[in-house]
Symmetry: C2
């Protein structure tokens, strides 16, 4: 059975459950795992954080539950149409498409985004199976790795992410599964993933990738799913260790957590996206002190994010507790580019080799 | 004389002027063209908006003027170092580098960004000459155009932006001048530049580029300089007409204006960046009415931006006055993806062919 056929079958099964309930004069209801921080648990098999057993029940006994079920059915209808016509759509397009669903159109873009995720949890399929795309694509890769990407003529095109691309690198497409992107070969020792474009360009210009046999991945802030999935595949299929180099602030800690442990919103597919062995080599509170970096004061949002992280099950270990508490105490954060205080080569000559125990 | 040598000479001349003034016991001062909306005038030769004759004087007689001159000199010193070492840096790195300039370090990132632009105006050079980069790169291109980009080994690598790239297209690097990017050949009738990634992907999926012989350029919102420069070069060197397809709101009107007429902040290089023949095919206030599109209400910022555009010399023509006034009257704006109300093919089957007078 092809991936599309499997998706079609799963979705039709879902519709059938609702149909059968109505036919039997039962009130249709759907149970979905609760997607909150309180309901994530460590998956011992994969070492990533997944949803626990708490469930939310949406029943047609109530108006909002009935609306939720109706919107799900319209959404499935739209997805089945796309599968038939080999189309895909952005989440925003789906929101506008729902204009035609009259009383059941989405009130906000956020509602349709959340429903797309709920559909994943309900069917155990992935957004990519539904042919739904985010607005922006993943980030970019530079380094000696060769991949094949299927183009619109359905031919696989071979691309070396060092030799066959421009300075800006290889753009990660929204679907990086085997049927779209094949990992062919590499000549590297590790992956270094960077939060900002400025730092990505700095490592490229300083030839860090060549000197230290690294594959550089630009995360573009909180990384898109396809970027995380690509990291996961390179880690798993090619055995490359992953290092995450971010700014030093609570939002960057979350970037690391979503790559290494899984994100709260997508915990149903953590085993698919997360790299539990990924190491944090970003700016820590200790680095701010040890390297005497230029900093900004924490603002109210930063402080509340840090306090929230102290409650987050993903951050319950010595390293993170101590770093978060230190950051709250010194009341300062720093960007990764703050290392430029010591010149443009400091990050590649000193900071990263120290963090990674590298010898040139 | 190479481009680097020319930059070095210009910068040293600038330093010399200051030095001579001090030696002659004059008080150093710098005159810079005023970079405000009140001081942009239509350049008859190029058909773009440039700075007029109003000048701002920075004199060392005052503390802030003296600081401005001192910071300029430190900046020039940093740039000359980069030229010598074949390095480049992001604007943010320069901000952090200034930590070492003691009393003359930049107070904010904004201050260093503005100074980099002022330096361009003062020296008539470009940021790229200074080896200063923005944080993020330009956007991407898909279509049948072949370019050559110089790689880190100083070899020109040939890339066809349809056949040799993945689905996400060719990434425009930050420097697209002849010494870095060569335009080789194309097989297309026009360029369609898109504001959002979602619409870019829609046109790619619907094969608009193939069916209508178009080169698609993703602007990524307000386009980076390198994106505008690339549009300018493709327009000028290859004779390709440029169409700008944006959302229908005041910010998108500004995107069009910056591509077609020149942006206010970079009016000193409008002749280098702007495509005066570029046509607007974005969502207009009339489209909102004619196509009965899903809309959002204007917020306070939208309204004040529209009112400001009514005063903007670049928007003083019948089309824009009428569109801006209509938008204020109906009090609504719409996104380009709102066309999905009529299905995923409406934009390529109906909207764009109507706007562009195309026959399939």
């Amino acid at each position: 059975m092809s991936r599309n056929e499997n998706t079609e079958e799963q979705l039709k099964n879902f519709v059938n459950t609702i149909y059968e309930a109505i036919k039997n004069e039962d009130i249709p209801e759907i149970k979905i795992k609760s997607r909150t921080r309180d309901n994530i648990v460590l998956d011992a098999l994969y070492g990533v954080w997944k949803y626990g057993d708490q469930e939310v029940r949406r029943t047609a006994r109530k108006i909002d539950g009935a609306e939720f079920i109706a919107k799900s059915l319209y959404t499935i209808n739209f997805i089945l149409d796309m599968l038939k016509e080999s189309k895909s759509s952005t989440l925003r397009e789906m929101y506008y498409i729902s204009e035609g669903w009259k009383d059941y159109k989405f009130a906000t873009q956020d509602e349709s985004n959340v429903l797309a995720e709920d559909m994943e949890v309900m069917t155990e399929l992935m957004r990519e199976d539904f042919h739904l795309r985010p607005e922006e694509n993943g980030a970019s890769i530079i380094g000696d790795i060769t991949i094949e990407e299927k183009n619109r003529k359905n031919e696989f095109k071979r691309i070396n992410c060092r030799d066959d691309v421009g300075d800006a690198g290889y753009n990660i497409p929204y679907n990086v599964e085997e049927e779209k992107v094949r990992l062919i070969s590499h000549d590297a020792d590790m992956i270094v993933a960077l939060e900002t474009g400025g730092m990505f360009d700095r490592l490229v210009e300083n030839k860090f990738d060549e000197d230290f046999r690294a594959i550089l991945v630009h995360l573009k802030g909180q990384p898109a799913r396809s970027t995380r999935r690509m990291l996961k595949r390179m880690n798993e299929e090619m055995g490359l260790p992953v290092y995450i180099f971010t700014d030093g602030d609570p939002w960057s800690f979350r970037i690391y957590a979503s790559v290494a442990y899984g994100a709260i919103k997508t915990a149903h597919i953590s085993h698919w996206l997360a790299v539990p062995t990924a190491e944090f080599v970003g700016i820590s509170a200790s680095d701010i002190l040890n390297y005497d970096l230029p900093t900004d004061k924490l603002n109210d949002k930063d402080i509340s994010a840090l306090n929230s992280e102290l409650q987050d099950p993903r951050f319950q270990n010595e390293f993170w507790k101590s770093e978060i508490e230190t950051m709250l105490k010194i009341n300062q954060k720093a960007e990764q580019q703050a290392l430029a205080k010591y010149g443009l080569n400091f990050v590649t000559d000193t900071y990263l080799p120290e963090k990674l125990n590298l010898k040139r």
